[in-house]
């Protein structure tokens, strides 16, 4: 388990996080959004006054539409402790394990790293988005205690005054609450904890106590007035459900709410705990490549990867990817085509497992999830425009992410960009690439002499 501040330190050490002083203007959300738009590093804003430090882009913030040496899953994978340069599927599998049910509870309790403070909620100086009136917190974890254990879910919201927040939480959790019940909000939690809340939320598995999930034995916790929260949390807010729950207008949403019903809760803050020099993650909502979008994309992909590979008794699927660039409206899957028609089954299984997207692109197993550009090339050159673009009748449940106008039903499309398994091998065209187009002895010699030839950048032939 990696504490949030350890995760942040590691991003600094790998030159993937840039420190800058928190500006008075513009809002940190604007700076964060522009950094993501530029595919920049994660950012850490050091506090100018007495407020908390802020960090953005620590879970995502990277697109794959240019060649790069970090990927949309790199920062989360590092946070999960998978590897410094984590393989995509390893991140998915780690996530699945964290969300998996365990037979024997093995929970580690630790002292609370955050201590009680006289600070009021306002003193935290959480950032206010440019078009909003109140400071906003995002990427939070909420915990509700019960006799069976603690229930975790994602939470975000606004700070209305020194004692009150208005938050959005999954309905599966808020449905358990009554006036006066305790809810604890933790900010700056380990990546393992936050990512798992997204996984459990988008897969409708919030009704099992966290102690009975893999994450429960991975992340050391501390009891609070609500449920347990990660012991290393940077900021902990102990709250109770307010007596008055005013009707509110539509709030801004985190991305998981596109898939999960959520409600607004007004919470009275009873106690504020912070670590020394606390840093909390945040993300600009609704913008491309935001962290909440990245977390949701990985959570859905992990679940789909697990389900489709568990379906046939063999594991034909190499990877499933929901590119954040497409805001989860399209799903890419790399697979071995076991037999003619398999790709049809696979695409439709994916549609049946998620209402997120309306389009599935099936590519060959050799395609690398790191080479999205190449995959998006195959989309157009390997699929016959009439035979390999297959549309359903418009009587499927409407997909949730696309924004085109539609009623409750919609059509589905899958693109078969794989070689037809009926073709003889000699009809399958070899790829053009450094690795495929040159004999090993020439390739090795070129790689060996690369810098002697006067080139500067280390070649990457992965």
């Amino acid at each position: 388990m990696t504490a949030f501040r350890t995760h942040l330190e590691f991003l600094h050490r790998t030159d993937d996080c840039q420190r800058l002083e928190r500006p008075d203007s513009p809002s940190p959300q604007v700076v964060a959004a522009e950094a993501m738009r530029a595919n920049g590093p994660a950012l850490e804003f050091t506090p100018a006054g007495g407020g908390v430090g802020l960090a953005s882009g620590v879970y995502g913030g990277v697109d794959q539409l240019e060649r790069r040496n970090r990927y949309p899953w790199t920062r989360l994978g590092i946070g999960l402790g998978v590897d410094r340069d984590p393989a995509y599927v390893d991140v998915l599998e780690e996530l699945i394990e964290l969300g998996g049910r365990v037979d024997d509870r093995d929970v580690t309790y630790v002292p609370r790293a955050a201590s009680a403070t006289d600070r009021g909620l306002r003193d935290l100086e959480l950032p206010t988005p440019p078009d909003e009136a109140w400071p906003r917190f995002t990427l939070g974890l909420c915990s509700i205690g019960s006799d069976d254990g603690s229930y975790w879910g994602p939470i975000h919201g606004t700070v209305l005054d020194g004692d009150t927040v208005r938050a959005r939480v999954p309905e599966a959790l808020s449905g358990q609450l009554r006036r006066g019940d305790a809810v604890t909000i933790a900010l700056g939690v380990p990546a393992a904890a936050l990512a798992t809340t997204h996984l459990l939320a988008v897969t409708d598995r919030l009704s099992t106590p966290i102690e009975a999930r893999g994450v429960g034995s991975t992340v050391p916790v501390v009891p609070t007035a609500g449920g347990v929260v990660p012991g290393s949390s940077e900021v902990v807010l102990e709250t109770t459900v307010a007596a008055r729950q005013p009707e509110t207008r539509s709030e801004k949403r985190e991305f998981w709410e596109r898939l999960v019903d959520a409600t607004t809760l007004t919470l009275d803050v009873r106690h504020v705990f912070t670590r020394e020099d606390p840093v909390v993650p945040f993300t600009p909502l609704g913008t491309p490549l935001s962290d909440d979008l990245g977390l949701t994309a990985l959570a859905i992909a992990a679940r789909l990867y697990e389900r489709v590979n568990g379906y046939w008794g063999v594991s034909p699927v190499e990877w499933v990817l929901l590119p954040a660039e497409g805001r989860l409206g399209i799903c890419l899957v790399a697979t071995e085509v076991l037999y003619p028609g398999f790709e049809w089954q696979l695409a439709n299984l994916l549609f049946s497992l998620s209402r997120c997207f309306d389009t599935v692109v099936v590519v060959d197993a050799e395609a690398s999830p790191r080479a999205l550009g190449r995959v998006l090339g195959d989309l157009w050159v390997k699929a016959h425009p009439s035979r390999d673009w297959l549309f359903s009748e418009p009587n499927a449940p409407a997909a949730r992410m696309p924004t085109y106008s539609r009623d409750d039903t919609g059509a589905r499309l899958y693109v078969d960009a794989t070689w037809d398994p009926r073709w003889k091998p000699e009809f399958v065209a070899p790829r053009v690439s450094v690795t495929d187009s040159f004999p090993p002895e020439i390739r090795d010699a070129v790689l060996e002499s690369w810098t002697d030839l006067g080139f500067e950048d280390e070649p990457d032939v992965a």
Binding site: P26, E66, T287, V381, K382, L413, W423, S437, S449
Partner: protein, 500 residues
Amino acid sequence: MTAETFREFLALLEDAGQLNRIADRVSWDLEASAITALANQTDERIPAFERVDAGIDGTWLVGDPYRGPCRRPWAHLARAFELPSALPGPAYYEAVVERLREPCEPTVVDPATAPCKEVVRTGADASLLEFPWPYVHQGDGGRYATLNTLVAPDADSEWGRWSRHRAMIHDATGASLLFLAGEQVPNLYYYEYERRDEPMPVALVLGAGPAVECAAEMWIPVGKSEAAFAGGLQESPVDLVACETNDLYVPASAEVVIEGRVRPGERLDEGPYGDYFGYVNGPRRSMPALEVDAITHRRAPRLPFCVEGTGVGYGHNSTSTLEVAAGGPDATLGLRAAGYEVAMAAPWPFSSRTAWTIATDRPYPGYLHELANFVFTTWGMLHIDFLIFVDADVNPLDPRAVFEAIALQADPATDFHQFGVERMPKVPLNIYQTPDEKGSADVGTSKAKTAKAHVDALSDGDRPTQTIGSRASRERARNLLVEAGITPAFARDDSPAVDR
């Protein structure tokens, strides 16, 4: 200064720190292309091989000289045309469109002053084997001249027709030319010269300079001259010189000019070859045969070549760069000239030709269909299978914005439109058709047909947020990031639509 010749272009690259002169001895047999492929993949400097292990002393091979940087493939050509290399993509397009609106007729120079006549060999003295043509990919059918401009006769133009057709070298005096029926010059050959049983005079020009290369990439309408558009691009006339053995005129500054005839009824093997689709197409097929009559060249010529296929995915090569930097502005101008109010037309960045994105409004119902029909039945009929229509304020050169539009705005029920099933012509080089569907080796033409499709990814006014904050606050945010040292990653100039 505008780079009017290939050598001036190389010097300009070198001045900009974008040329890597390699003095080590390098083989034409896969080694030069392997180095070039790796340079393309890693966005490294353009390799210029000064010592090649065969051919005329002093000959250089230059690997993918027109390849631009990954994020800004047009940057080197912009520099060549004396435009700011930092121009954002849309601004570069508009600048080139303006140049193309002002064609400039070429001038004819005395052969005695033409650099391409420094060495003149005719008849039996002219040998293709004096040049180190690269063997580009393992599995290719032979050695190729890839980055060339073919000059052919044109009844409607004094200056001939320029286009790009690869040539597979067979021996000292023979090569096969990739002539795909449906393209202008091959049509002229198959349906006029060959039917009359006449040889067609041609000149294969290598190293003719950036404007010539760009003009050859464009789809210039009948009755207009590529030479004049090249002059417009470089804002000065292109110097032409008469060939030695036929009536054609060629760019005087070219590094090498191969004069010859395409012999009616004769074919030579061609291919397979690792092509712009990113795969090795096959099967080997018969293509028209070029017989060499003369070769003129500079002393110590610089031979440009392209490692085809490496312009797929993230990497660029000369072909994909020319498609983005010349084909795109040309198509934009062409569509506007045809009466379509398109903001921009540009190739999909991860495959060099098959899919194009067109940013446009929808002024009336049926407009997109009409526009797609125009493209598929004119300049895009062979190579383009898909058109993606996006909002006029989306930058087609911004892959993130285009991908988002496809993912969110294209309704499978109503927004995908096919133009018949198996009715449209298609280059036989594609890989999605079976060998049977591609046709046999029949006369170099293709029996291949396919469907064409267009995707309506216009938002109808409902695009997700791309940015937050006012323009001024975003600008302040960028300045803060630059001050924090985030310049390299931050220096995107193909900003999404809101900042166009």
